[in-house]
């Protein structure tokens, strides 16, 4: 892949019958970048993301993720990416420790490696007291942090985060973004969808989807200049309202 791009998308389209959910989108994401993927509800963000993570087949277009084609090698993509859905798909009836063991095992880590990673995680997040608690009993903020850490367990090239901070308080959101920065600094690419425009400001580059198309794509600073807006919120409103 040229120019250090870890995601390259060209004219990617997804149709459900007559309805075009994603209409010929094109963009690239560089290694280590925090890429914000914005759009109103129903604009096609989640559909686009599902194509990139290999669980939804595109109708047409081209896309490469972590060096693999989404049409022909979706399973190879899955080895190299992490994914955190808006549902925080950890198992509520397993403890934090058991969840870590399970997902580590699924990604092919050895038991010794899992233990090492788990100890790191426990220390980093200060999980000593809750590592043997059922995930279902934890507050949302904790679930998010643990979910994110588990998505990083197998050291993926890219992590996809689908509205990771929905429904949590500003302090926890702040902490969460610190975690994102930290992993971006260590070379992981972050692909994140969000509805919070203050979070959009944290991203290196931002794309805004409207009705299945990418209407704007640039750094938050340039977007604000281009749309003569004080903040990303205004940029978003101008675009989304048409």
């Amino acid at each position: 892949m040229k120019n250090n791009n870890v995601i390259e998308v060209e004219n990617l389209t997804k149709k459900f019958g007559d309805f075009t959910a994603v209409n010929s989108i094109s963009f690239e994401v560089k290694k280590g970048e925090i890429f914000g993927f914005l759009g109103a509800n129903g604009a096609g963000k989640t559909t686009a993301m599902k194509m990139l993570i290999g669980i939804s087949k595109p109708t047409s277009g081209k896309a490469q993720v972590a060096g693999f084609d989404v049409f022909t090698h979706p399973e190879d993509i899955k080895k190299n990416i992490g994914y955190m859905s808006q549902k925080f798909a950890l198992y509520d009836d397993l403890t934090v420790k058991e969840n870590i063991t399970f997902f580590g095992g699924i990604y092919g880590l050895s038991r010794a490696k899992i233990k090492e990673k788990r100890n790191e995680l426990v220390e980093e997040l200060g999980l000593e007291d809750i590592v043997n608690e059922l995930v279902g009993s934890l507050p949302l903020g904790w679930k998010q942090k643990i979910s994110f850490s588990i998505a990083l367990l197998h050291s993926p090239t890219i992590v996809f985060l689908d509205e990771p901070t929905g429904g949590v308080d500003p302090i926890t959101r702040r902490q969460f973004w610190e975690m994102i920065y930290k992993s971006a600094n260590s070379g992981t690419t972050i692909f994140v969808t969000t509805h919070y425009m203050d979070e959009a400001e944290y991203c290196d580059r931002v794309s805004i989807m409207v009705d299945g198309k990418i209407e704007a794509l640039d750094t938050p600073k340039k977007l604000k200049e281009q749309y003569k807006a004080d903040n990303m919120n205004e940029v978003f409103l101008k675009l989304a309202r048409g």
Partner: protein, 373 residues
Amino acid sequence: MKTILFIVQKEFRQIFRNKGMLPIIFVLPILQLVILSNAATFEIKNIKFSYIDHDKTSFSRALIEKFDASTYFNVVAEFSSKKAAYAEMAKDKIDVIFEIPRYFERDLLKQKNTDISVAINAIDGAAAGVENVYINQIVQDFNKKAKVALSSSTDMANAPKDIVTIPSFWYNKTLNYKTFMVPGILVLLVTMITLFLSGMNIVREKEIGTLEQMNVTPIKKNQFIIGKLFPFWILGFVLLTVGLIIAKVVFDVPIIGSLGLIYFYTAFYLLVVLGMGLFISNFTDTQQQAMFISWFFVVIFILMSGLFTPIESMPMWAQYLTEFNPVKYFVQVTRMVMLKGAHFNDILPQLTKTLIYAVIMNGLAVWSYQKTT
């Protein structure tokens, strides 16, 4: 292989952690086996018997007494007219109206021939048939004794000779219906529990969103499916074992054949059921849907398994349909092995069909499970 172990470990943890589900898995089937095996009886007892005696002689009274003495009949009423008797039958108060004609004794003595009228409530046709047989037996018996009584007073040499059949019942000598029902009901429970649990388990992961998470991992389709179904395969064996112990200890059902053979067959049978559960879960989005569809099949499977009604008496088209019923084969195999002591060669036809079924069902299940849609 390692990946599969991680999944199996996780599934067992979840099964044993679910405090609401554990009793449903283990206690309810035991209760069902005990209750159903006692209640699902083909024997007809406590038949409500009524009579109209127009004769009122020692002969007619002796005949009524024979019914009274029988354990199958309760003599509940005597009527003076048919009209009153029919009114009671219409209210379901009586099952049988037995009418002894006037001059019953005289005709029997003089002409050696008389007629008795019997009316049976046949809303349940099968029960009515059995009642008819019982009544006939008692009347025949009475007839025979009457003949002996009559002939003894005349010439012994001219006494009529009856042909008597002496039935001998094989494999279930005492005609104990429990011996027949317990293996069948056991099969049913193993089928139902494993089908419901496996079907609902995967749909549940769909509902809570963890299945999507699984689909984003590099886990292979066959690893996921084997890891998911293996715990329920084991659970099926546990249920079978518990059921067999109850069959032996509580019902004293004979186990003549090899237990190993039953387990061997069950190993393949469970694959059919689990494949079916997975197949259903691939086409449903909620546990409710999965449950409804599972029930739909289970009810058909039960009623067409030969468990409650003999397959031989079904219409031809229905008999062909039962070929697609895995429960039928399992019922046949357990009954054959437990009661007749059948060997491997005897159950080979059932085993082969089950095997083919398992391959097709699991093939469909694996094919319909898609990580990428």
